[in-house]
Symmetry: C2
Subunit: 309 residues, 2 copies
């Protein structure tokens, strides 16, 4: 068919552009990839599927930006385990109309972001159909010698910290954020991280994941939540806090440490980004503490995919 290009040519283009680092024993081009591991802690694995029209809108943003985001959300998951991302495989479902060009541009953005983090794109699968773009990215990583940090280790008395500032991400930051990989590794080296998660659904929702996994409660100080400048400043204070709690897609780190380690972090945060003490781990419920000392249930908030049964 004159003027057409097919999946092998797209894969060949991707293969030529992808970096091949020392851990990649076999990259793109065989039945599977083969990734070497250092140490004995095996591999971390995260997967996220993003769809045009749901997670981004290709009529509004470039394919390169969409590709970058599809990788970045997974890097944020590896960061949440205090791991080092090493490799990615990409499943693409491209619309038949201009799919090859879209695929190339998308992978340009993804591979450029991968290169920033020393991540090799080692494999993938490419398909076309007559509906919008779907991109599924699986990222592999390694725990450091200190092991991985889960959601399950929070202890009553722990202090809760958050990196960066929260809320209003959907005005653009959700596409351009830098995954907190370096910050997580730095924190993991300096203090004993009891529990950690990345904020994708929103603080109010994600802190409940730590609470549930650790079988604890939390008290978040409303006045201490770092509200991003992306949140409309003309809103009431209450509304601005609600945005910071529930907007989601912040891709910041939420973690808990002992009080002693908490003091250490306040004295020497040593991070390129803001670090804020926002509350405590308790043996009770998940509560929001207002400046007058009154406590209320944390709002449920946060994004969930719903089905009609």
């Amino acid at each position: 068919m004159q003027g057409s290009s097919d999946e092998f040519s797209l894969i060949e283009t991707i293969r030529r552009r992808a970096s091949v680092g020392p851990l990649t024993r076999l990259g793109i081009g065989d039945d599977t990839a083969q990734l070497l591991t250092r140490g004995h802690a095996g591999v971390l694995v995260a997967v996220d599927v993003l769809m045009d029209g749901v997670h981004f809108d290709l009529s509004q943003i470039s394919p390169q930006t969409a590709g970058r985001k599809a990788l970045a959300v997974n890097l944020s998951d590896i960061a949440a385990m205090a791991g080092q991302p090493t490799a990615a495989v990409v499943g693409l479902v491209l619309p038949q109309n201009r799919g090859a060009l879209l695929g190339k541009q998308l992978m340009e953005g993804l591979i450029a972001h991968a290169d920033e983090f020393g991540v090799d794109v080692i494999g993938g699968d490419t398909n076309s159909w007559d509906v919008p773009l779907v991109i599924s990215v699986t990222v592999l990583g390694e725990p450091t010698a200190r092991g991985s940090v889960t959601r399950a280790g929070a202890l009553p008395g722990d202090w809760l910290f958050v990196t960066g500032a929260l809320g209003g991400s959907l005005s653009g930051r959700h596409l351009t954020f830098t995954p907190r990989v370096a910050e997580a590794l730095s924190l993991h080296e300096r203090v004993d991280l009891h529990s950690m998660i990345d904020l994708s659904d929103g603080l109010a929702s994600d802190v409940r994941h730590i609470a549930k996994a650790s079988n604890v409660g939390v008290e978040i100080d409303a006045d201490n939540i770092p509200i991003h400048t992306d949140v409309n400043p003309s809103l009431s204070k209450h509304e601005r806090i609600l945005h910071a709690l529930t907007d989601g897609e912040d891709f910041e780190l939420l973690f808990s440490v002992s009080e002693a380690d908490g003091h250490r972090l306040l004295e020497e945060p040593e991070l390129a980004c803001q670090l804020t003490l926002i509350g405590r781990v308790t043996a009770g419920d998940c509560l929001l503490v207002h400046s007058d000392g009154t406590k209320a249930q944390l709002p449920q908030g946060g994004w969930r995919h719903r089905f009609d049964d």
Copy 2:
């Protein structure tokens, strides 16, 4: 919303059903999974994305069968490397209408098949939208102590073998095939596999991948190609051979070994399935050899996803 269920409830259902074997350090429920590795050869990684209406038709087959297939095609990739599959992560895009039920049934079929192969489902991502189902499965595996077998090691003089019989798979076998994991491991233990691939696009297309990667040619003996009984027996011999060469989705193994190892396999195949010598590796082109000794170019054939540029 009354009568609705959301992604957390679906994930919880999947988590309860998924097996957790000794290599799964962290399964479903944290920011990433963590999979331990034995030995120093790292992990094999394969990804395949399947769509309702392209790879199967949910108006014709059960969700359980679709889930089984989405895993099986990846297990076949691990088999092609002579590896042992260990774990899978699953990205689901479910239609909003009855998505939760569909997701549960799909994962039932996938997890049952995973259990047959000792594969743990260790993570995933679930989304919903208003278009057909998409399922992206990433399978991890391990090379054995003998290493992985790629497409790139074929040598002129090698003998080419194929497991099972070819052609007519789309009449149903493409949904119910058993990935040749056990056969690949058994062969890898007994002979020196120079090159191997699984037949997904069809013999004519897939043998070219070995030829290209190994920088060799092949001669396939037309009369020796094992034609599956699924190929219409009322067709001419020529047409039946063409089906076996180009139908695709056989998910059998094609591999090359030295002549000495080839003799050994003919004497003691020791496989639960048929094993057939179909040709030789050469320093020339990719040719089909007819019974009268005449040679022709192998047909191109095979499935490719095409884009309109």
